[in-house]
């Protein structure tokens, strides 16, 4: 029934981009600048900078730093967007790593963080009404 609808397949896994050395360097430089800007920025601008930082770290494969940046973004203001979407995938990556290491405390930590993200989703959704 949904043949036509599923005709255009979506990416099934988060895209892992292979960066060239120049691209990596450029992203790292941009991050340095962003980290400096964050010290002096407020409000919406600050959220955008944290989100950009999180996305850059994700591209660089620096999962922990990406999580810190996205979490900082949501701390400024709970909202839907890059930080929520990024964290949902990054928590899952960390949860999988913990599961492969059979580390129960870490599994619980990341699943609980995902739960908190769902609660945030409910809160933001309700505040939209």
């Amino acid at each position: 029934m949904f043949k036509k609808f599923f005709k255009n397949k979506v990416t099934t896994e988060p895209v892992e981009q292979k960066l060239t050395t120049e691209e990596r360097l450029a992203l790292q430089q941009e991050n340095e600048q962003l980290n400096q800007d964050i010290e002096v920025t407020e409000g919406d601008g600050l959220i955008k900078k944290y989100d950009q930082l999180g996305e850059n770290y994700t591209q660089l494969g620096e999962t922990d730093s990406a999580i810190t940046a996205f979490e900082a973004s949501l701390k400024v203001q709970e909202r839907f967007g890059a930080a929520y979407n990024g964290l949902l995938n990054l928590y899952e990556i960390k949860r999988k790593e913990a599961a492969e290491q059979k580390n129960n405390d870490e599994i619980q930590k990341w699943v609980t963080k995902t739960d908190e993200l769902l609660n945030l989703s409910k809160r933001v959704m309700r505040s939209n009404f």
């Binding site: 990416t11 839907f80 949902l88 899952e92 599961a99 609660n119 959704m125 309700r126 939209n128």
Partner: protein, 427 residues
């Protein structure tokens, strides 16, 4: 021998003890400290008792509502509330033990399927698993099965649903989220498929497809910001209007005005839901983390099936539209069901918000604005029809004035009533 008899007859027959022991098993398997095992077990025990207290409050309020509705409209007015069904099944009907074991069984079957099949979904929404355990046990009782077979079959059917429903929704979830990292674990999936199907047939396609996300919706429903307030906003007026039709003889007491009495009874219903859900949270607070830790270790490449708010951020406008259109469908359904000789199913605000909202996301992704609107109304009618079909069977078992919500759990129970029971009768 006397000691064993005492344990079997007095301790293990207590559902609160059974479920506390299951939590204890989970905590011990995780090698938690003695202190953590003790507190976790005690909290679970406490959770069950709080749930029972909530259930008693709901039953008392629903009994009153059933009486005044009957006298006001000469019809059977039923409140769709899976919480009320779970509370009554666990306590009044004495099915707590079977539900506790089935809950554990569903976990085990889910892990087994995920471990040994290509479907790696692990269902992480504990509350939904409890509702599924409840409805499969209710189904077992409807089919007249023994307790052992009820638990065994419920575990298998519930376990299959726990994998199959996220799998069915996954192609849509991929479209919504843009990747395959997480799945949807919410037992309203058959309803979502109905909305998606309706949106496909009646919705917009190709270049004509316009997303709901491109429109600006007004902010005018602040009452929905609080779960219990949103229940109260519907239930309290419903009680009061019904009381006005029933009159003082049936709706009042000797000392209290009948409208005031109805108001307080409506509030009591909200309080019951509040207490019951607090009990459920306490009850599952230890069991779910314990078992999901075990599940994740046994199936490291599992795909976690998460509760429906996981999708809200991808299409917030669709959630609002889904809630509104589903509510319209449930109100239409309320008037339509008696025409077909079925019970009056009152609109349930919690399910309209969570199931309706999520269904709206499916409707929008398949059929754009038109798909979400028409699909939402059809979804509302569908989730009113399902509990209406179940009412007679539930009343026969002794449930008071309530029917289930969550389409997958109702379909599971109807499978017992419509397929299994006739086969067993024929054999």
């Amino acid at each position: 021998m006397g000691v064993i008899d005492f344990i079997i007859n007095n301790i293990l027959t207590q559902a609160a003890i059974t479920i506390a022991l299951i939590a204890m098993l989970g905590l011990v398997l995780q090698r938690k400290s003695a202190g953590s095992v003790l507190t976790g077990t005690f909290k679970t025990l406490l959770g069950f008792q709080v749930l029972s207290a909530g259930s008693a409050i709901i039953v008392s309020s629903l009994t009153y509502f059933g009486k005044i509705f009957q006298h006001a409209f000469h019809l059977n007015g039923v409140v769709p509330s899976i919480e009320a069904i779970n509370g009554q099944a666990m306590n009044t009907l004495g099915l707590g033990n079977e539900i506790a074991f089935t809950f554990l069984g569903i976990f085990i079957v889910n892990i087994l399927i995920a471990r040994f099949s290509p479907w790696k979904y692990i269902f992480l929404t504990g509350q939904a698993l409890l509702w599924m355990a409840t409805m499969t046990v209710v189904g077992g009782k409807l089919a007249g099965l023994s307790s052992f077979v009820t638990v065994l079959l419920g575990s298998i059917i519930g376990g299959i649903f726990a994998v199959a429903m996220p799998a069915v929704a996954q192609p849509f979830v991929r479209k919504i989220t843009g990747n395959d990292a997480i799945a949807l674990g919410h037992f309203c999936t058959i309803g979502y498929m109905v909305e998606a199907g309706a949106a496909y047939v009646f919705g917009e396609h190709g270049e004509n497809k316009h997303s709901v996300e491109d429109i600006k919706l007004p902010k005018s429903m602040e009452f929905l910001q609080d779960t219990y307030l949103s229940v109260a906003v519907i239930m309290v007026p419903l009680y009061m209007i019904t009381a006005a039709f029933a009159g003082p003889k049936w709706a009042g007491t000797e000392t209290t005005n009948y409208i005031m009495n109805a108001f307080m009874q409506g509030i009591q219903f909200v309080v019951g839901v509040y207490v019951l859900l607090a009990g459920v949270r306490l009850l599952l607070g230890e069991i779910v983390p314990a078992f999901r830790g075990i599940a994740m270790k046994l199936v490291p490449n599992a795909k976690p099936a998460l509760d429906c708010p996981v999708l809200f951020p991808y299409a917030p406008n669709s959630v609002i539209l889904g809630f509104i259109t589903t509510t319209i469908g449930t109100v239409l359904g309320m008037f339509l069901m008696p025409v077909f000789g079925l019970a009056v199913i009152l609109p349930g605000m919690l399910t309209n918000f969570f199931a309706g909202g999520t269904a709206g996301i499916f409707g929008n992704v398949v059929g754009g604005r038109r798909g979400a609107i028409i699909g939402g109304v059809i979804h509302g009618l569908f989730i009113t029809l399902l509990p209406a079909l179940l009412v007679t069977a539930l009343t026969g078992l002794g449930f008071v004035n309530a029917s289930a919500t969550d389409s997958d759990t109702i379909v599971a129970a109807l499978m017992y009533a419509w397929i299994l029971a006739p086969i067993l009768k024929a054999v």
